[in-house]
């Protein structure tokens, strides 16, 4: 049986991949400042998405 994860997720993943693609495209095009800004936004939104969705209690006991 495949385990299920977390509560409902949202369409943010499509947006996140587009954001990361834009970051890479900016870096490839030589737009350094834009790439740095997009990187900061991408990483922040990735971390916030993780914190928002990582709500399952880990099956650990010590």
């Amino acid at each position: 049986m495949r385990p299920t994860y977390q509560k409902e997720t949202c369409m943010i993943f499509t947006g996140l991949f587009i954001l990361v693609l834009a970051t890479l495209a900016a870096a490839a095009a030589g737009l350094r400042r834009l790439a740095l800004a997009l990187f900061a936004v991408s990483l922040s939104v990735n971390l916030l998405t993780f914190l928002h969705h990582a709500t399952d209690v880990l099956p650990l006991s010590f």
Partner: protein
């Protein structure tokens, strides 16, 4: 290590990242391993890992560029470790299939940790930072292909996510493409 060698290693890093994304994509297409939200977050971090090498190739090696990849790798390792912890109890079948007996998220921990170690080793070589300046116009075909590959793999992931999730909520445990 001189500047040219460092740039060549950055190009190889882009090929490595493209390979990782390609393997994940191959598992998705041929084995039907649709990525869960945590899996997608890890893919995103692999793609973000490419920003440092890309900037190093375009503008010459700078410690700040490597720092970006370091941050992406640390976040990716954290996401992957979270998924490992979810399935750490004995008897847990894990999520998805395994590659050489190890699940993809466990491989991701190894890959991100390896990336941190490699970036640290690269940063030890200070001669590469001696002369910084725009590299625009001097990018080899080998490097251009690496850049194109990493962009292509990320673009394919955009397409895959749109097909899988559409413009609604992504499924927690995806089993099919919503738009196909």
């Amino acid at each position: 290590m001189n500047r040219a060698t460092a740039i060549t290693l950055n190009v190889l890093a882009l090929y490595g990242i493209s390979l990782v994304l390609a393997v994940a994509f191959a598992a998705q297409l041929w084995l039907g391993e649709l990525p869960c939200p945590l899996c997608m977050l890890q893919r995103l971090q692999f793609a973000l890992l490419a920003v440092g090498p890309l900037l190093n190739i375009r503008f010459g090696p700078r410690p700040g560029h490597s720092a970006l990849s370091l941050l992406a790798a640390l976040a990716g390792a954290g996401f992957a470790l979270r998924q490992v912890a979810l399935h750490i109890l004995p008897g847990d079948p894990g999520y998805g299939s395994a590659l050489f007996g190890v699940h993809y998220y466990s491989w991701a921990v190894v890959a991100f940790t390896g990336a941190v170690a490699l970036i640290g080793l690269m940063l030890l070589c200070e001669r590469q930072f001696a002369a910084s300046g725009p590299e625009t116009g001097r990018i080899s075909r080998f490097a251009r292909l690496a850049i194109a590959l990493v962009l292509l793999m990320t673009a394919l992931n955009v397409l895959s996510t749109v097909l899988m999730c559409g413009f609604a909520a992504c499924p927690d445990d995806p089993t099919s493409y919503r738009l196909l």
